[in-house]
């Protein structure tokens, strides 16, 4: 810890680390491509996409302490907005640079609309209402193919335009300076740029007046109100910000996949995103990133149990497909048992957690 603190204070070390990180991130897809396989580049893409999503949820759950179980709704709205306005479904083909801000804006409004009725609710009641909103949105998307076909219902929307800048489509392999950039590589760089932007916004928000107001609301809403914080606006702002991150990643998801259907936006997805946030360390940006990396990579890495069993025992003992999700579930339990505040807890939370033992028993148990 102290070494880390020292490093943090040394500007030269900070710069060196920064440059090292930048170079690493820049060559990462090529590294994974050669060392592992193209699959892992695609998985990297999803990691970045989910970092954006999870950081959005982190604002709501981590910063403002509002348990949202329907977060995937904003992901869905963003994805459908992009898909409907850039596909042959309506014959509209808006450009990517117009759709992304539009997606952020529309989901922002959705965030406020869905957040407003929940302002009085707390804890588990808030959770079930947000869960309800998530399901309502999914059900509408799944059924709005009749009487007027808006979303194409369960069949989903196909042939969504890829992201392209002018004539430069990210869905094609390009050759720059003799290096081949395949679609998954192209999207990696786009996602990386936006992820860095989202991380930057998150960090600035966290350290701003608003960020501190969120923490105040999270810790004690009544006290926050007494201190002159407009808790209504500050909560709505958290919903709106979180939603817009979700909307942007939804749009990117639609463009990247080229096809979306309501199956991608189920409650399980909301729960998985929440797991990423909590597992990594709620309220801590680095923790959330770590949580995402773990929960996206783990199920994919566990696909290699088959070969692993083969290598270890010389034959397949247990059907790997049977084991994969079982181990994933066990991993969730074990990580939480050993690191209840998450893998990288936020400093404030950690402080609370270490000092709270007696106080918490009382406040955590209902009357």
């Amino acid at each position: 810890m102290s070494r880390w603190e020292k490093l943090k204070r040394d500007p030269r070390a900070a710069w060196a680390a920064f440059i090292l990180l930048a170079v690493l991130l820049a060559v990462l897809p090529f590294l994974t491509d050669t060392l592992l396989s193209r699959t892992w580049v695609r998985i990297l893409d999803f990691v970045l996409l989910y970092i954006m999503l999870a950081l959005g949820l982190n604002i709501v759950v981590g910063f403002a302490g509002l348990l949202d179980l329907g977060y995937v709704a904003f992901f869905a709205v963003g994805a459908y907005l992009y898909a409907l306005l850039a596909s042959p479904h309506f014959g509209i083909h808006l450009p990517f640079w117009a759709l992304l801000p539009l997606g952020a804006g529309v989901t922002c409004i959705f965030g406020v609309l869905l957040g407003a009725p929940t302002l009085r609710l707390r804890g588990d009641y808030l959770a079930i209402v947000t869960l309800g909103f998530g399901e309502i949105i999914r059900i509408f998307l799944n059924n709005l193919n009749a009487p007027v076909n808006i979303t194409n219902g369960p069949q989903g929307v196909n042939k969504i335009d890829p992201v392209s800048f002018g004539g430069f489509s990210l869905n094609q392999t390009h050759q720059v300076f003799g290096i081949h950039f395949s679609p998954v590589h192209n999207y990696y760089y786009l996602f990386l740029a936006l992820t860095i932007l989202v991380i930057f916004i998150s960090m600035r928000m966290q350290d701003s007046r608003i960020g501190r107001a969120w923490v105040a609301v999270r810790e004690d809403e009544v006290a926050a109100k007494a201190m002159g914080i407009n808790t209504r606006n500050i909560k709505l702002l958290a919903f709106a910000m979180g939603a817009s991150f979700g909307g942007v990643s939804g749009g990117l998801f639609a463009a990247f996949q080229g096809f979306i259907s309501p199956e991608s936006f189920t409650l399980i997805e909301s729960i998985m995103i929440l797991c990423m946030v909590v597992l990594g360390g709620m309220g801590n940006i680095a923790g959330v990133v770590l949580g995402v990396v773990l929960l996206v990579v783990l199920p994919e890495a566990l696909r290699y149990i088959g070969p692993a069993e083969q290598a270890l025992f010389g034959r397949i003992l247990v059907d790997p497909a049977d084991l994969r999700m079982l181990i994933f579930g066990l991993a969730l339990i074990l990580v939480m048992l050993f690191r209840p505040a998450g893998l990288l807890p936020s400093t404030i939370r950690k402080r609370e957690f270490e000092a709270e033992d007696e106080a918490v028993v009382e406040s955590e148990t209902p009357a």
Binding site: R42, P154, N158, Q257, A311, A321, L334
Partner: protein, 404 residues
């Protein structure tokens, strides 16, 4: 943290073990041909996914046992099974993984929602894909030359079902229920179109979900309209309880379903109420096809009862291998033309593809539950396939009329 070691090991094994996997077991004269098999092996549809996987595996094992020579080399087929969890996102990752492993073909995926996004990746990589069970129309309308299916699409099957309901079952007043999945909704929409065109009146269109168990509410409101036929677009796990609940409410209309309902499970779940239920299944009755009985015997002795789509996965694998043999090459670019023009008898019926990759002719057989077994009634929608000499109806005494 015990867990992180296991995780590190998995990665290690992945990087070290994978490239050599499979090849090391085969002598150099033997050519190892990898075929991917993708279906949900976990999650709510895992029973169907495992069934598909078993179907494909049986075909591969069978061919390996007899031995095949392609391009002058002895070929050993290797099936790589992957779990797409019926999730469109996971489906693309799995598709990429199979492409990376340089599979020569893919059998999959199970659901349309997973099949369509994955098909783009197979298309870009030039890998041939045959889906044994995806029925959504858009799958083969993407202009992908490498995408096929051995299952009729919603339009082909829905049309046959709609006409059958109006003409053969003499239904005038019809109620339709679907489960709001791509499959159920697609089939129900096409059924509605055909039934209306045939002069049937659609009294009610009701909906449920693919997780539901209680249908009393929608059945009660259907009962109020007094239809003479209820059509259900969805799977057996809902169809079975649905029939039971229909009968318990005293709703005695005929029940008609698609291939999702035409399973042994359906009869087991619905029990005595299954009697008289009609459902369709693409292709011809298994026991009418050459090799069908042997397939059934072999499958059941190895994996137990068929769920629904195993015979189609088996056919998909056999058709692929047949095309490779015909083209004398395992290179997708070379055997693709042979596959596109193939004409063979599979266990589910004659298999040939049209220009889009849909199964040509689109024969659909209707079955009815009699004495606790599915008994073939009639095969419809056939357009002069290679094996046209199929007797129209069955006696119901054959030991294999149990259906699948």
């Amino acid at each position: 943290m015990k867990f992180s070691h296991g995780f590190a090991f998995a990665i290690l094994a992945a990087t070290l073990g994978l490239p050599g996997c499979g090849k090391e077991q085969a002598p150099s004269s033997e050519l190892v041909v990898k075929i991917g098999s993708v279906a949900p092996l976990t999650g709510p549809q895992a029973h169907l996914g495992k069934d598909n996987d078993n179907g494909a595996r049986l075909a591969i094992d069978e061919v390996n046992a007899t031995g095949v020579t392609i391009g002058g080399k002895k070929v050993k087929f290797e099936l790589i099974s992957e779990d797409d969890q019926a999730d469109p996102k996971t489906a693309t990752i799995v598709a990429q993984k199979l492409v990376d492993q340089k599979v020569n073909a893919v059998i999959g995926h199970l659901n349309s929602g997973a099949t369509i996004p994955a098909s783009k990746i197979y298309h870009d990589a030039g890998v041939v894909q045959i889906s044994p069970s995806a029925t959504a129309i858009p799958y083969t309308q993407q202009g992908f030359k490498n995408a096929f299916r051995v299952m009729t699409n919603d339009e082909q099957q829905g049309k046959v079902l709609g006409e059958f309901a109006v003409k053969q079952m003499a239904a005038k007043k019809i109620a339709i229920i679907d489960d709001r999945t791509a499959y159920g909704q697609g089939l129900a929409d096409q059924f509605e179109k055909a039934a209306k065109a045939g002069g049937g009146e659609i009294l009610a269109r009701e909906y449920t979900t693919d997780r539901a168990t209680d249908f009393l509410a929608i059945l009660t409101s259907i009962k109020g309209r007094q239809p003479d036929l209820v059509f259900y677009g969805g799977m057996d796990a809902q169809g079975g309880p649905m029939v039971k609940q229909m009968r318990s409410l005293g709703l005695n209309a005929k029940f008609l379903g698609g291939d999702g309902a035409q399973s042994r499970e359906f009869i087991k779940i619905a029990g005595a109420d299954a009697e008289g239920v009609t459902a369709s299944s693409p292709g011809l009755p298994l026991e009418k096809m050459p090799g069908g009985r042997e397939f059934l015997k072999k499958f059941e002795s190895k994996y137990g009862k068929i769920q629904i789509y195993a015979p189609y996965a088996y056919d998909a694998a056999m058709t692929l291998i047949e095309a490779m043999k015909k083209a004398d090459s395992v290179d997708p670019a070379k055997y693709l033309p042979a596959l596109a023009t193939i004409q063979r008898n599979g266990v589910t019926g004659p298999i040939a593809f049209d220009a889009k990759g849909d199964v040509k002719g689109g024969a659909v057989t209707l079955y009815q539950v009699k004495g606790g077994n599915w008994v073939p009634l009639q095969t419809l929608g056939q357009e002069a396939p290679p094996a046209a000499d199929v007797p129209p109806a069955a006696d119901g005494k054959s030991p294999f009329s149990a259906g699948y």
